[in-house]
């Protein structure tokens, strides 16, 4: 009887030993998976498809969308990729939209800086193109030191350095002004 019990004990011991070896070998073949992709050092939060709305006096003032955003808590700055900014009810221009390849959002100061193929279009048909543009949500100002081109169906205007208040409908172009005023409206591409 004693022999049988001893044999059984050996068998159990052997089984446990084999199991331990299998687990140990399996465990070694797998490198620990990077659970979280390593964020650049100064970035606290990395987002995709950012959607940010600024409300003022209970009314939607502007909306910022970006394909990519990297937020730094200490500076309060978000670096943006492929952004689109919509300014609602901007005076006589109606809704105004701006797109650009790169940008930053400083939330506290309500400041959006955009660069790289910046295009601004208005509901009333104006179109502005430049390489860099800053929108100050506090002062409602669009500013740049770069050359700009502004067109609508009757006019083409070029200059360098802009300061524009959309709500008041006032704009200053600082130098190198060239303008062509057409007697009639140009046909829109879609009309031709």
């Amino acid at each position: 009887m004693m022999n049988l019990r001893r044999v059984l004990a050996c068998l159990i011991l052997l089984a446990v030993l084999v199991l331990a070896i299998v687990i140990w070998r399996h465990g070694r073949s797998l490198d620990p998976v990077e659970v979280l992709e390593a964020l650049p050092e100064q970035v606290d939060l990395s987002l995709e498809k950012l959607h940010y709305t600024q409300n003022e006096e209970g009314r939607r003032s502007w909306t910022l969308d970006a394909e990519r955003a990297e937020y730094q808590r200490d500076t309060g700055l978000a670096e943006l990729g492929d952004l689109s900014l919509t300014l609602y009810e901007s005076g006589r221009f109606g809704d105004v939209s701006m797109t650009a390849e790169h940008g930053t959002l400083q939330q506290e100061q309500r400041l959006v800086e955009a660069w790289g193929n910046v295009v601004v279009t208005t509901a009333t048909g104006e179109r502005l193109t430049t390489e860099r543009l800053i929108y100050d949500g506090g002062k409602k100002l669009l500013t740049t030191d770069e050359p700009v081109t502004i067109t609508n169906r009757r006019m083409e205007l070029k200059g360098t350095g802009l300061q524009g208040n959309l709500e008041q409908g006032r704009m200053l172009l600082k130098k190198d002004i060239w303008m062509l005023l057409l007697p009639e409206e140009r046909k829109a591409e879609s009309d031709e």
């Binding site: 005076g91 006589r92 009757r154 205007l157 200059g159 008041q168 409908g169 006032r170 704009m171 200053l172 172009l173 600082k174 130098k175 190198d176 002004i177 060239w178 303008m179 062509l180 005023l181 057409l182 007697p183 009639e184 409206e185």
Partner: protein, 142 residues
């Protein structure tokens, strides 16, 4: 061939600086201003472009400071000028003079009819109109 009406021609402007005010429907150009439409070119220190109310069309251009207007062989100079493209007139104010070849007229106010070879010269209470006109024949001899 009949000359195109100015209002059917584009206006090209160059300047150092521009201030535009949508509500006032004005654009103020300053610094070496040159505005060209068809055969008329305006030069001045400052120019204000006024749009017609409720329309995008230009009503008039007002030019200030060292004003000079050239149209083919006619040159006008003044302190201020108002160019009304629909009426096709150019009104000159302040030491206004128009030169055409050797002919010269001067007054306090001159209205130049751009589509006609005609000008109306007025003098204010400051003096009389002056005109120096050379008979066509004499002009060709010289």
């Amino acid at each position: 061939a009949e000359l195109p009406k100015p209002s059917s021609l584009p206006i090209e402007v160059t300047a150092n600086q521009l201030e535009a005010d949508q509500q006032k429907r004005q654009a103020i150009f300053t610094g070496d201003v040159v505005a060209k439409q068809g055969d008329v070119t305006l030069y001045g220190d400052k120019m204000v472009v006024y749009q017609l109310d409720g329309q995008e069309q230009v009503d008039r251009l007002e030019v200030f400071g060292h004003v000079r207007v050239v149209q083919l062989d006619r040159t006008a100079t003044a302190e201020r000028a108002v160019y009304r493209q629909v009426a096709e007139t150019l009104t000159l104010y302040g030491n206004a003079e128009v030169h055409q070849g050797q002919n010269r007229v001067a007054g306090d106010e001159i209205i130049v009819y751009l589509r006609e070879n005609r000008s109306l010269v007025k003098s204010g209470d400051s003096g009389r109109v002056k005109a120096i006109l050379f008979p066509q024949q004499k002009q060709e001899q010289q």
